[in-house]
């Protein structure tokens, strides 16, 4: 294969990407990951905190007298709520669609 033919291929690839970027739907339609992290950690936080509240003596002894379930659960709960709060305070801004962009110019 000859390396001389590469110029059009490379230029075409760059042009393709620009075109695809215009048609891309990720920015407009992909959900916000903060919702998933927040949700999962709130659920995990509640489960693990409850395991800490009802910890047996055996559990406590195993974890060197630290109620590790309680502390980890509370930590996860706080992290989860923090993500949900962040999402609430600065929600995802959907990008202006092509039509609006034209009007602004």
């Amino acid at each position: 294969m000859s390396d001389k033919s590469n110029t059009p291929a490379a230029a075409q690839a760059a042009k393709d990407v620009e075109e695809l970027e215009r048609r891309s739907q990720t920015a407009a339609r992909l959900f916000d990951v903060r919702r998933i992290i927040g949700g999962l950690f709130v659920v995990y936080g509640v489960i693990v905190t409850l395991a800490g509240v009802f910890a047996s003596d055996e559990d406590l002894k195993k974890a060197q007298d630290i109620n590790i379930n309680l502390w980890t659960g509370i930590g996860m709960l706080i992290l989860g709520l923090a993500f949900l709060l962040w999402l609430r305070l600065s929600p995802t801004i959907p990008p202006p669609d092509a039509g609006q962009e034209k009007e602004e110019r």
Partner: protein
């Protein structure tokens, strides 16, 4: 390859399995929910180049924080002591900062969709095709090796049969990547990052209390393994012996330069995360944001390795006893009550799956975009390539699963393969670095540099080292020499070939070579990107300074 000792079965119960089950459900949910955002092949391969920097940054560090990395670095901690921090502070941070500050403008600015595609622009089709094929083959095999390692760990920890783990984990990865493409891979990586931290932090806290804190570790291990064990640089003078078998020069040049720059700057499974960022500033910040957690990770990985060694002095001493790789599983078994134990199992499993998903999502991009669409079936409508990419994902996962099954009977061969791939990145790095900084480098030089560098490393490893022609004390040492060979052979060949062949005309190199700019209008900075804490230079140099400061307590 990870081999865990017998008798490591964790006392899991229904609570732990509930936590694990919820994770699987959420991961599948991410796949289905991300599906509606996939309209074009760019959405599937690079999330439409639209993600914010904090997401791509955390995915960048998480793609590296696979389970083999976590268990392996804890094992290194138990085996080599505090020397292990070199893999982080000198073996990762400088390369990550270099990627963000120096290389990313070329990668992102040239609008390439993959690392091999950059070679198409800079050199031409022959080096493009060569590196695409090497990458595609190696990533699918590495995915299989990851899957096999996962199955081994789950068999030891949970008692699952090998085939159950291989099929279940393979199926979930297949499902969410096929549905959502890179977006679901990145989202699960971000999730995995937090879950694994929620497991490692409590593990470290309880472990420290058990052994009497940092002072307890230092007292016990300094007494038992010598003072140098608890320092970063003692005993690394040239000619003096230390557990690592390396001196400061080989650490700085070998680990810190050749191997680490090869891995972090040209491994597409990593770079892909940065290429999916929404603009150049975010792409540059991706590896820089990742650098900060990377600096702190030894605190929850290397320290548990040390704790395990204090608690189990026989770790790694007897062939049929506990091995170094068992460090973290031993702590999980002995210290974590049900609940947090479930989080820890979930974190490990998530880390394995995310590692495999990173290989698969970079594989389907390179195969579809750089081999199929570039050379086999050109100029089809974009929908055709999205469909192809989905099928390629299915095939990739199935081949990976097949590899995992074969690996269970040829586990030694897989060991070699894994080592071999670990230095495939080095020839690629040579080609990149010379091609980016030396305008005259010719297309032919790119191809021959890549080929001879790769072959040179293989010859060194399989012939000189394995056949015993050259005496190298350890596998680790052989890897290092192979990397050096790849580096030297590749660069010499590139220089010689360049002198005798014709370079590309300068106007075709705009935006690809240091000192040039992409044609067209420069991208306008987005609102808010000029805030001081978003300046790439500040983040990058901040990470370097922080890594250097981290060395201080372990150096004097």
């Amino acid at each position: 390859m990870l081999h865990l000792a017998e008798g490591l079965r964790l006392p899991t119960n229904g609570l732990d399995y509930t936590i694990l089950g919820i994770y699987f459900a959420v991961v599948l949910g991410i796949g289905f929910a991300a599906r509606r955002s996939v309209k074009t092949s760019l959405d599937f391969f690079l999330s439409g180049r639209s993600l914010p920097a904090w997401i791509t940054g955390l995915a960048f560090v998480a793609a590296n924080l696979g389970a083999t990395e976590i268990l392996g670095m804890a094992a290194n901690g138990a085996q080599y002591g505090v020397y292990t921090v070199h893999w982080y502070w000198i073996g990762a941070i400088p390369a990550m900062v270099f990627l963000g500050l120096v290389m990313m403008p070329f990668y992102y600015g040239s609008k390439v969709r993959s690392v091999p595609e950059f070679l198409l622009h800079r050199f031409g089709p022959s080096s493009h095709l060569l590196s695409s094929v090497i990458f595609a083959v190696s990533s699918v095999l590495i995915a299989g090796v990851n899957l096999y390692a996962l199955a081994l760990v789950l068999k030891a920890l949970l008692g699952w049969e090998l085939w159950v783990s291989i099929v279940v984990a393979g199926f979930f990865v297949l499902a969410y990547i096929t549905l959502g493409g890179l977006s679901s891979a990145i989202y699960t990586e971000v999730l995995q990052f937090f879950v694994i931290l929620a497991a490692l932090i409590p593990l470290t806290v309880v472990g420290l209390k058990r052994v009497g804190g940092w002072d307890g570790i230092t007292d016990t291990l300094s007494g038992r393994n010598g003072d140098a064990f608890m320092t970063a640089w003692d005993g690394t003078g040239i000619g003096s012996a230390n557990p690592l078998g390396a001196n400061w020069l080989t650490i700085v040049l070998g680990l810190g330069f050749v191997m680490s720059f090869g891995y972090w700057t040209t491994n597409f499974a990593e770079v892909q995360r940065a290429l999916s960022a929404k603009n150049l500033s975010a792409a540059q910040r991706t590896p820089l944001i990742a650098a900060f957690p990377k600096i702190l990770i030894p605190a929850v990985v290397v320290i548990p390795g040390l704790i395990a060694l204090v608690m189990e002095p026989t770790l790694g001493k007897h062939k049929d006893g506990l091995q170094y790789n068992d460090a973290i599983p031993v702590l999980m078994r002995d210290l974590l009550p049900n609940g947090v134990l479930g989080v820890a199992v979930t974190g490990l499993l998530a880390a394995f799956m995310a590692g495999m998903a990173a290989n698969i999502s970079s594989f389907n991009t390179v195969f579809t975009n750089d081999i199929y669409a570039a050379y086999l079936k050109k100029d089809r409508p974009d929908e055709h390539y999205v469909a192809t990419a989905r099928w390629v994902t299915v095939v990739g996962v199935l081949v990976g699963m097949g590899t995992a099954f074969i690996a269970s009977s040829f586990s030694n061969i897989m060991n070699y393969l894994q080592t071999l791939f670990s230095f495939f990145n080095v020839p690629l790095f040579v080609v990149f670095i010379i091609g980016m900084f030396w305008k005259k480098t010719t297309p032919a030089a790119g191809f021959w540099g890549l080929l001879t560098g790769t072959v040179g490393a293989m010859v060194n490893y399989f012939w000189f080292y394995k056949q015993g022609i050259v005496d190298i004390p350890s596998d680790q040492g052989a890897n290092f020499v192979s990397s050096i060979v790849a580096f030297v052979v590749g660069s010499v060949v590139m220089v010689v070939v360049t002198l005798f062949t014709k370079p590309k005309p300068a106007e075709q190199l705009a935006g690809l070579v240091y000192g040039t700019r992409s044609p067209g209008e420069p991208e306008l900075p987005e609102k808010g990107d000029d805030a001081w804490y978003r300046k790439p230079a500040l983040l990058g140099w901040g990470a370097v300074v922080l890594a250097a400061l981290c060395y201080i307590p372990f150096s004097f």
